[in-house]
């Protein structure tokens, strides 16, 4: 099984070799129905409940193209600055594997729907953020395969398994495969470029609302191709293809690992085998897949059961006009509008709170307050509950209302947290929660002054200390008042009233 390969120190490897990257990303579309039939695409159904004669490849069944899948492919192509084919076809990629019902995959071969594009990415380096343009070779449509669940083996892999169960729910779900041209010139930042590209692509596709782009659920999958050459002037070396790279962090690590592994082999005068390797998230290693005696011959030919796709130029232009703002440009625009630092913006993005913060500000909240709530309290709650921020039962409008009440002095932070708790618990809108929980701040001076007097009486030395200029002693009184009002007082106001009472100016 997996043997730890010898690795060369990364910096040393980069002194001797120039890495060439190639990234193939599969995006599973979130269309309601599969690519060639009307079965549901919902994730996580009971095995083999989302199948029909077409996606099971039963004898006689025929595919029909899902128009929404084509539309999503064109939108992805346009967002990647690609040309859109005026005429293209599906092809059959023929190979035998039990998870593929027809023993061919309906894909696109030499006539992809989108080609010749690019994606600009921002790569974090020691010298700051480096802009890098990744050229896109093509984006094409294809169908997903089913899943083989290997039973009885220790690793869940086919090797050593007693038998396999097949689930065809995934078979026929639309995929867009996005292939880069060879990425050269990344040098020692090849791992960062790879990660930045996949992250940017994920963000871009997410902004198009055509896929969940969940790497953990396999709705975005990345294969990393890597080869080394002595210098940028040399021809490309033999590449390996690393599969099963299922997180952004793994993309970076897998590139780094392959650079180090290949560098040792080449330095020792060995040869890189053109092979598929599997990334192991737990150990951070890649292991060789099945060694193929000869190159796989997929015997591609145009799919005769489907007619060519010829998207009209009018349609393509309509889709282009309706593309959302490019996420990178949008981020830059919002950062400028909000006047926040790169670091603060990165925190918002990393918390996946950009849309929510923007919406909360649009609903009237201050940018700092909007960020504070989403990145603080709400991120903590979401994290506790294992949910995404978007899944919480609270909206930007709720937060804007809470912020407005804080600004009016009707709520403080502590009460606001209680309001949030109530909203999340389904107790109603903000004002209903306040009424229901009795959370309004005590704003009449009368009860506050009475509480101040009571506190001064209980701690007679405090008045003297304050009179002597030790203003910090006020804390004890404010604390006592807050306690007496069960937190429903504005601390700043209590402090002001206390000083007025004692005739002291701050």
């Amino acid at each position: 099984m997996s043997k730890t390969a010898l690795l060369m120190d990364f910096d040393q490897a980069l002194e001797r070799f120039d890495p060439v990257l190639g990234l193939e990303v599969h995006v599973e579309l979130s269309t309601n129905t599969k690519m060639f039939c009307s079965c549901s695409t919902t994730f996580g159904g009971e095995p083999n409940t989302q199948v029909c004669p077409v996606c099971l490849g039963l004898p006689g069944a025929l595919p029909v193209v899902n128009e929404k899948g084509v539309e999503a492919a064109i939108r992805i192509g346009l967002a990647l600055n690609c040309e859109i084919a005026e005429w293209c076809r599906f092809s059959r990629k023929n190979y035998f594997y039990p998870d593929m019902p027809k023993n061919f995959q309906t894909s696109q071969y030499d006539e992809p729907i989108a080609f010749n594009g690019y994606l600009d990415v921002a790569v974090p380096t020691d010298e700051g953020v480096m802009p890098f343009r990744v050229l896109i070779e093509r984006a094409h449509m294809e169908e997903d395969t089913g899943k083989a669940l290997h039973q009885g083996g220790a690793t869940g892999r086919i090797h050593g398994a007693d038998y396999s169960l097949l689930d065809y729910n995934r078979a026929g779900i639309p995929l867009i495969e996005i292939v880069t041209k060879p990425i050269v010139g990344a040098g020692r930042y090849a791992p960062e470029v790879a990660k930045a590209y996949v992250a940017a692509l994920r963000e871009l596709v997410k902004s198009l609302d055509v896929s969940d782009v969940r790497m953990d659920q396999g709705s975005l999958r990345c294969d990393v191709n890597l080869s080394l050459r002595p210098t940028p002037q040399d021809r490309f070396g033999t590449r390996t293809e690393t599969k099963n790279v299922n997180s952004l962090r793994s993309v970076e690590r897998a590139v780094r690992y392959e650079v180090q592994r290949q560098a040792v082999i080449l330095t020792d005068g060995g040869k890189i085998i053109q092979e598929t390797r599997h990334w192991h998230e737990d150990t951070g290693l890649t292991t060789a897949g099945r060694v193929k005696e000869e190159a796989e011959d997929y015997r591609y030919f145009p799919e005769p059961d489907l007619v060519p796709i010829a998207p009209s130029r009018e349609w393509v232009e309509q889709l282009r006009a309706s593309l959302p703002e490019n996420p990178a440009l949008r981020r830059a625009r919002l950062q400028a509008e909000w006047g926040i630092t790169d670091h603060d913006m990165a925190s918002v993005v990393n918390a996946e709170a950009l849309d929510l913060v923007e919406a909360t500000i649009a609903a009237g909240a201050d940018q700092a307050a909007a960020r504070k709530w989403w990145l603080g309290e709400l991120s903590r709650i979401a994290n506790e509950r294992g949910l995404g921020l978007e899944e919480l039962a609270i909206t930007p409008a709720h937060l804007a209302r809470i912020e407005a009440l804080i600004a009016d002095g009707a709520l403080n932070d502590k009460l606001a947290r209680s309001v949030i708790e109530g909203v999340l618990a389904g107790e109603g809108e903000v004002d209903a929660v306040i009424a229901g929980r009795g959370l309004a701040l005590v704003s009449d001076d009368g009860p506050l002054l009475a509480a101040i007097d009571a506190a001064l009486q209980a701690q007679p030395d405090v008045a003297e200390k304050i009179a002597a200029g030790k203003l910090a002693a006020a804390g004890a009184v404010v604390g006592a008042v807050m306690k007496a009002t069960r937190g429903q007082a504005d601390a700043a106001k209590v402090r002001r009233l206390l000083f007025e009472r004692l005739g002291v100016s701050e």
Partner: protein, 497 residues
């Protein structure tokens, strides 16, 4: 009582509508005929008497309720075993699917149900429709009712033989290179390959997707037209289906007026290699057309010389991919699953056990032709020939309304005669293949018996894409003139079974 099995579909329709017979009685008559003769003919692979009678009773009940009934309601039909029929065996003549029962209906079957046609059973065929004699059925050959020692054509020999043996008045065939027309020719029946896309392929187990087309078979041109109307039309489940109205084939069949029709005699399909008696009957038919007022001219389609070669690259290529799904994993035969063999080995053993020699031959040819490095020379070149053939047809149809040729080079040959000579077998389809490659339509109808062997000869009529009604006009008129000459249907001359 009229001999129900000798009636045409039109006559049965009239009797049923008049209330003179019930669908039940008609079904019983045909089921009894099948029981009496099919042991010798072997046209059918599956007959479900109970199912058929239950369907007939439903049709009778519907008629009794006063519901509007289609013209073919209650008329029985034989269905080629390559079309999926829910809950009924659908073997494609292969061991691979011996016990498979589809969970769904082909669109053709749905349309037959909607027309209240009563399906008698599934007919024999060359395995996965590969063959011209029905000898490649895994379940034994079908015998030609004209001479039980001879082949009924193929791949749809079962459907054609069921008509000639009076086991059914209507049948469905499928035609990839001649599998409707050549069996019609050698059994003295009528068959039409409609324009590609005119009849839905959904549920037709694919041989070669770009060539396959289901179509109607019967004993008369009018019956064929009636069935054509029942099954043709747009189907959203088939991307290659034609989305436009279906012309009135029945009216065309009844027109019987050929004045001014320009008929092209395809030079490349009327000369060498054709049996003398076939040529003689064909020349007589040409003369008859002239006498009926048609304008017969000779046209040349030089690319047809390459049609057979191109066909035997395109068909195996597509078939090698279409038949890949038969691997024993999901349905059908599974071999070698004994805990000792790997998945790959089980797939291989299943395919070796489930496929017959002709299927394996074509899968190997197709796999080779699509291999990288050979694709351009074989599949790519074949597609270019296809374009040339389409151009030849286009040119011919600028001067002609229809084209004609003999359907097959010979009359029915002896069972076993060409089994070991694939090339001789393939030559049976030399006149029918160009039509599939170009995607247009063709009909075969009987024009007499060859003097030397007394066996039926077929004439092929070819019309342009979506010109299917012209087949029925040209065929209906010729049939009427021939029946007037003979004084009876040609099948009256067949020996009694």
């Amino acid at each position: 009582m009229t001999d129900l099995i000798k009636q045409t579909a039109r006559q049965l329709s009239d009797l049923l509508r008049a209330g003179d017979v019930s669908a039940h009685e008609v079904a019983v008559a045909h089921l009894d005929r099948i029981a009496a003769v099919d042991e010798r003919v072997h046209a059918f692979l599956h007959v479900d008497r109970e199912y058929t009678l239950a369907r007939a009773d439903q049709v009778d009940a519907k008629r009794a309720s006063g519901a509007a009934m289609g013209v073919l309601a209650g008329v029985p039909l034989a269905l080629k075993d390559v079309l999926a029929m829910k809950g009924q065996p659908t073997t494609c003549g292969s061991r691979m699917l011996e016990h498979w029962r589809p969970p769904y209906n082909a669109t053709v079957v749905e349309r037959l149900h909607a027309a209240d046609v009563v399906i008698l059973g599934k007919t024999n065929m060359d395995e996965f429709a590969m063959g011209s004699s029905t000898e490649f059925s895994a379940y034994g050959p079908t015998h030609n009712p004209w001479d039980l020692d001879r082949i009924p054509g193929g791949s749809g020999g079962g459907s054609a033989a069921s008509l000639a043996a009076f086991e059914a008045p209507l049948a469905i065939g499928t035609d990839t290179g001649g599998s409707i027309r050549q069996p019609a020719a050698v059994t003295g029946t009528v068959g039409v390959k409609p324009t590609y896309g005119a009849v839905s392929r959904y549920g037709l187990v694919a041989l070669a997707s770009s060539l396959d087309q289901a179509g109607p078979c019967a004993r008369t041109v009018e019956d064929t037209a009636l069935l054509h109307m029942a099954i043709a039309g747009y189907d959203p489940k088939d991307s290659t289906s034609i989305n436009q109205p279906v012309a009135d084939m029945v009216a065309a069949a009844q027109r019987r007026d050929l004045r001014g029709m320009r008929i092209g005699l395809v030079k490349e399909l009327s000369g060498q290699g054709f049996q003398a008696g076939v040529r003689q009957r064909f020349e007589e038919a040409v003369a008859l057309y002239t006498s009926l007022g048609a304008d017969v001219v000779e046209v040349s389609c030089p690319s047809f010389d390459y049609a057979l070669a191109a066909y035997y690259l395109i068909l195996p290529s597509e078939a090698s991919s279409n038949l890949a799904k038969f691997d024993g994993m999901r349905y059908g035969l599974r071999s070698g699953d004994d805990g000792e063999h790997s998945v790959e080995q089980v797939m291989g053993l299943t395919r070796a056990a489930g496929f017959g020699p002709e299927v394996i031959r074509r899968i190997m040819i197709g796999t080779y032709a699509l291999s990288s490095g050979y694709y351009d020379a074989y599949y790519g070149s074949a597609q270019k020939v296809r374009t040339l053939i389409q151009r030849d047809f286009n040119a011919a149809f600028t001067t002609c309304d229809v084209l004609i040729s003999p359907t097959a080079p010979t009359t029915a040959f002896k069972i076993g005669e060409k089994l070991d000579d694939p090339l001789a077998m393939y030559l049976n389809d030399i006149a029918t293949i160009p039509v599939n490659l170009a995607g247009n339509c063709g009909m075969s109808l009987p024009i007499g018996l060859a003097p030397e062997d007394g066996l039926p000869v077929g004439l092929q009529i070819i019309a342009p894409i979506n010109g299917d009604d012209r087949l029925y006009q040209a065929g209906g008129a010729l049939e009427a003139a021939l029946h007037a000459q003979w004084g009876h249907h040609i099948l009256e001359e067949a020996p009694a079974l």
